[in-house]
């Protein structure tokens, strides 16, 4: 990693990547289509390039193109037809709990299209935290990233997946991810995109198939002029006593955010809530489309959505305490983006906070 230019190292650092590996228990680094590094110091955790994982374990085939169907759309088909799959497999063996995050870094430098297929498997009662930083070289003007991620949260297991994007204005990104959560399992997904990008289109789905499973999606995004972010998250409450929360904070300074959410409650004693808040700082579009769908009496689903500008009386309140108009505005925006995710290790929360703080000066 050290041989990258200073500019590129900085871009990666903004996605939460620790080049020096402080506070990380493992690291995976892919530049374009080449896996340049896979290291893992934690016992009971395996990090392997997908190609090697498929050769090593026959049973990997059960997880390969299972949560995400290979023929889901043209992007998954594109990834599926590649001769050599590239990407990362993480396996947490039963009962292994690692609070320190693993980092996966996907860097787009020269190729037109980067394709990635990741599989994260958390076996019974294990716990892993994965931070994926995705960035493109500062010199890269155009390109696309297609990333398929399949996540399997076993019985009583806990997985958090935090993705911080730092692409360039000409980059289009199509993550395709899906998660299956078993009994008593917990899945937390966090997405942060504060930097300009051409296009991000994604709609990750969590399918809760075991009793008491929980999924929580949070996203914090800023659409700068020229950015088009079509983001959503979906949870299918497919077992009794499952619950979910989909939280999003979107800001536009001239770009477009489509903020989708869908919860399907199809079993007894299930609960779900969508919270979608948008702030229009400069003329741009925020289109919130929260959908809640229940198919029986025992499901309780709700949503709240709000789109607007910063209230003038809030700015004036802070000004009366001595903050200038710009300081007051930035303070309110920072508060708006402050989504504290319960159950997230502090080091990850700090990473998210840092990514937001770095962007804050731009408002």
């Amino acid at each position: 990693m050290e041989h990258l230019s200073q500019e590129d190292q900085e871009r990666l650092a903004q996605t939460g990547l620790e080049v020096g590996m402080q506070n990380r228990c493992g690291s995976f680094f892919q530049i374009d289509q080449d896996v340049v590094q896979t290291t893992c110091g934690a016992e009971g955790i395996e990090m392997l390039p997908i190609k090697i994982a498929l050769e090593k374990y026959d049973w990997m085939r059960d997880y390969y193109w299972n949560a995400v169907p290979a023929d889901a759309d043209k992007y998954t088909k594109y990834v599926a037809k590649q001769e050599t799959p590239q990407g990362l497999v993480v396996i947490a063996h039963p009962g292994v709990k690692v609070a320190m995050p693993l980092q996966a870094c996907l860097f787009l430098r020269e190729e037109a299209v980067q394709h990635v297929h990741n599989i994260f498997i958390a076996r019974e009662d294990s716990e892993i935290h994965i931070i994926s930083g995705c960035a493109s070289s500062w010199q890269k003007e155009r390109g696309a990233h297609i990333g398929v991620t399949e996540i399997y949260v076993g019985k009583g297991a806990r997985v958090t997946s935090t993705m911080i994007h730092n692409w360039g204005e000409g980059i289009s990104v199509f993550p395709r991810s899906a998660t299956i959560v078993e009994e008593e399992g917990t899945f937390l997904s966090n997405y942060v995109c504060m930097q300009p990008v051409n296009r991000v289109v994604m709609y990750p789905t969590a399918r809760l198939v075991g009793k008491n499973a929980v999924a929580r999606f949070s996203s914090i995004v800023v659409a700068t002029p020229g950015s088009f972010l079509d983001l959503g998250s979906r949870t299918i409450l497919a077992a009794e006593q499952t619950s979910t929360e989909l939280i999003s904070r979107a800001i536009t300074t001239g770009g477009t955010v489509i903020s989708r959410g869908h919860i399907l409650g199809e079993k007894e004693n299930t609960r779900g809530h969508i919270e979608c808040k948008g702030l229009i700082l400069k003329d741009g579009t925020i289109h919130a489309i929260p959908e809640i769908e229940g198919t029986l009496t025992g499901t309780e689903l709700s949503h709240e959505a709000a789109v607007g500008k910063i209230a003038r009386h809030e700015i004036e309140y802070l000004m009366a305490r001595g903050l200038s108009e710009d300081e007051a505005t930035a303070t309110i925006i920072r508060g708006f983006l402050d989504v504290k995710i319960s159950g997230l290790p502090e080091v990850l929360q700090r990473q998210i906070d840092d990514a937001i703080d770095k962007a804050e000066s731009g408002f």
Partner: protein, 243 residues
């Protein structure tokens, strides 16, 4: 401290305050009374410089400086402070964070100040989100204790406060206005809007004013005005000659 002359204020193109003249000297506390909707809060917000209140003529001189068209935060820096009757709830903004951002005080100092108004549990809470009436007022007092303004405006400090909290609030406000310092040496001034006059149980006011329909009608001893209003209502004040 504060000199308001011939002030006219409009909201959305309609004049709501007419020909206001008010002089508050250093170390003086004044009380502003008047029926609901008479323009008392409007006057406080216009003095603070809020955008919805357009000053069409007249002037506000504060500490010898013309602040008629000065931005709000510069007035705050000059030493003007305000306790809001209905402060906004701002989600994501922690009370403690706001206090450090506005004061550059040590966290320990802020914590001690918070303790003095039973607010230490609230420093990590989003400001005014889910606060009760009393908690909101204590949060306002805490912010002012951090800000330490020389001239303090209080918009109905009693409203929504129970008796126990009122005792704490009354004492804290008296301290903010340096009521514990001899009148000769007192430097801080205040303007308090009150309906009930309960605040006068905790501090002496030097003068009272009654506002009716956007005009200050009467000036005089605050307790005397309160007594007359309690007995005869504000109708009596209409007979006062505006000055």
């Amino acid at each position: 401290m504060l000199d308001i002359s011939d002030l006219h204020v409009s909201v959305d193109g309609t004049e709501v305050l007419h020909d206001i003249n008010l002089h508050i000297g250093q170390g003086e506390t004044h009380v502003l009374m008047g029926p609901n909707g008479s323009g008392k809060s409007t006057l406080l917000k216009a003095i603070m410089g809020f955008g919805s209140y357009t000053i069409t003529s007249g002037s506000i001189i504060f500490k010898g400086e013309d602040i008629t068209h000065m931005p709000i935060h510069e007035r705050a820096h000059l030493g003007m402070g305000m306790m809001f009757q209905h402060p906004p709830a701002i989600s994501g903004l922690k009370l403690g964070k706001l206090l450090t951002a506005t004061s550059h005080m040590d966290e320990g100092v802020i914590e001690a100040l918070a303790q003095s108004v039973n607010m230490e549990q609230f420093l990590a809470r989003d400001i005014n989100v889910g606060f009760s009436g009393g908690e909101m007022k204590r949060s306002e007092v805490l912010q002012l204790k951090v800000q330490q303004p020389d001239y303090l405006m209080l918009d109905e400090p009693e409203s929504g406060v129970d008796l126990e909290n009122m005792n704490l609030m009354g004492k804290e406000i008296a301290a903010l206005l340096e009521k514990d310092i001899h009148i000769i040496n007192r430097r801080r001034s205040g303007l308090i809007i009150t309906h009930t006059g309960y605040i006068l149980d905790y501090l002496e006011a030097d003068q009272g004013h009654v506002m009716i329909s956007g005009r200050i009608r009467c000036h005089g001893n605050a307790r005397e005005i309160l007594r007359v209003v309690k007995e005869k209502g504000y109708g009596e004040c209409l007979r006062c000659k505006p000055r």
